[in-house]
């Protein structure tokens, strides 16, 4: 999934929040790519066991983030498909303390290892 999200270059700090819904165990990598380049600016490992450490602030100055790509690749497994049959993985972009947009990946939980790939292009 690819989504373009417009940020205010003159605004305050931009942050990204990853959330997981559904009874799944998920491991992900958050990667921030430089604009028009294959340079990785930031790479973080995470999982859905603790929802309080899945927020990442983008580097300052804010204007430099225009053109950069947020890449969230997640592998997950359903823990109880009797109880929870659908998953939602969302990557929300915040600026000035408000959510400005989000990319949402939704689908059925199969019980096997599943992939979610979200790209956000900041414009």
């Amino acid at each position: 999934m690819v989504k373009k999200v417009k940020i205010d270059p003159a605004g305050q700090m931009v942050a990204v929040k990853i959330t997981f819904e559904g009874l799944i165990i998920a491991s992900y990598q958050y990667v921030l790519w430089e604009a028009q380049s294959n340079q990785i600016l930031e790479k973080k490992d995470g999982n859905n066991q603790n929802p309080f450490d899945d927020t990442y602030s983008l580097p300052l100055p804010v204007a430099k983030n225009v053109g950069r790509i947020i890449d969230v690749r997640t592998r997950f497994v359903g823990l109880d498909t009797d109880i929870s049959k659908e998953y939602t993985i969302s990557v929300a972009v915040f600026q000035n303390g408000k959510m400005i947009d989000e990319a949402v990946d939704k689908g059925a939980i199969t019980g096997n290892s599943q992939l979610s790939q979200i790209y956000i292009i900041l414009i």
Partner: protein, 398 residues
């Protein structure tokens, strides 16, 4: 398709049930109609072996309430196939977890683990009809059950979750490294690939191939779980007998017509069951049950109905041995009935066999002793052979 056919067969199959007792035959006849409905509830069941709202009906000599897995919603009905056509069921029961249902797919793992008590709360409801002395009664049973300890719940098993989490993390790491290599080899930027569907597909195929090759390295196999469904199944098999502690309550009311306002209370019942593992091969259940009963009888001299109340208390223990799919059990129970200070005992043995996915054969035989230590003491033989149906784990409606 195969699973759908299996379900249809399950619905159409008649219940196999054989029961024998040497107790008073007249009492047996009076109870027969009501019991047969209750037995159908129990024997055509879908993943609900014990429901508080149905145990309160007293269809089995055993008073132990076996701990079960939490489901968002489970439904039981009496037979709805009469041999030639599909009919409206005369009776049904359901058990639901209100908090799980309310959350549905928005539930998160963290939320579940932090609020287990509420997500494990289950309410059950059952109705049926019975006939006593030519008077038809509508019965309503309402139950609640809570799980205090459930070490067999994989959603809370830290070791199980860590093994899966680490395997998935390894997979993502290998995939992202392969992604970087692809971009380098193709001299493309991530933006170019992300915006080009065909190129993106090519990259994912490259990643998949590179991952498979990388995972041939034996060092990684200690972390990577190749066959997750098999891993889950094996983990379940090794954890079938883990510690559980449950408490339940149920209310039973009966109405001479179908009006709720005319319901009269017949019973309050409460259960506590503690299941503990016995090494790798067994599980011991220790249960207690307390019931407060409301009864009446006709005084032939005055031709008036006399109401009376009494209570019962039973302590039971059941030992399961074997594996998740093939289990034997032996059970003992002592019961005190305050009406005339009666004491009953029950000894039961049998087995549970998972003959194929979704179908369980349950056989048991036992002896009931009534009025222990009194001049009217008598004993009876009890046996049953049941087929229990549960939805296969891999069952899908589409």
């Amino acid at each position: 398709m195969k699973n759908k056919l299996l379900l249809l067969m399950m619905l159409a199959l008649p219940t196999i049930s054989i029961s024998q007792t040497k107790e008073d035959s007249l009492r047996k006849v009076k109870k027969a109609e009501a019991d047969s409905i209750f037995q159908k509830f129990i024997k055509v069941n879908f993943a609900v072996p014990d429901l508080p709202a149905f145990n309160v009906l007293g269809n089995s000599p055993s008073d132990i309430l076996r701990p079960t897995d939490v489901k968002a919603l489970s439904i039981l009905t009496s037979e709805f196939y009469n041999g030639s056509s599909i009919i409206v069921p005369k009776s049904f029961a359901l058990e639901l977890s209100p908090f799980l249902l309310a959350k549905n797919n928005s539930l998160t793992l963290h939320d579940y683990q932090q609020n287990q008590f509420w997500y494990n709360l289950r309410l059950s409801l059952g109705t049926n009809t019975s006939t006593v002395n030519n008077q038809k009664y509508s019965n309503l049973a309402i139950g609640a059950r809570i799980t205090i300890i459930d070490k067999g719940d994989l959603k809370n098993d830290e070791v199980y979750i860590d093994l899966l989490k680490n395997s998935l993390a390894l997979e993502v790491d290998i995939e992202n490294k392969a992604k970087e290599q692809f971009l380098k080899d193709k001299n493309k930027t991530i933006q170019e690939v992300a915006m080009d569907e065909a190129l993106n597909k090519e990259m994912e195929q490259y990643i998949d191939k590179a991952k498979k090759k990388k995972l041939e390295d034996e060092k990684l196999l200690s972390t990577y779980i190749k066959d997750i469904p098999k891993f889950k199944e094996d983990y379940k098999k090794n954890n079938w007998n883990k510690e559980k502690l449950e408490f339940a309550y149920a209310y039973l009311g009966a109405s001479p017509d179908s009006l709720i306002k005319n319901i009269q209370t017949k019973k309050h019942a409460a259960w506590g069951t503690w299941a503990v593992p016995v090494k790798k091969w067994g599980q011991l259940l220790v249960g207690i049950n307390y019931s407060y009963m409301y009864a009446d009888s006709l005084n032939k001299q005055t031709d008036k109905t006399v109401n009376y109340e009494y209570n019962t208390f039973s302590a039971s223990s059941r030992l399961y041995f074997g594996s998740n799919r093939v289990k034997g059990f032996i059970e003992g129970q002592y019961k005190f009935i305050s009406l005339n200070d009666k004491r009953d005992a029950f000894l039961n043995t049998g087995g549970e066999f998972n003959i194929r996915d979704g179908i369980w054969l349950v056989v048991n035989a036992g002896i009931n002793w009534h009025d222990l230590g009194s001049a009217n003491s008598k004993s009876g033989f009890y046996s049953s052979l049941n087929l229990r149906f549960t939805l296969p784990e891999n069952f899908k409606m589409n």
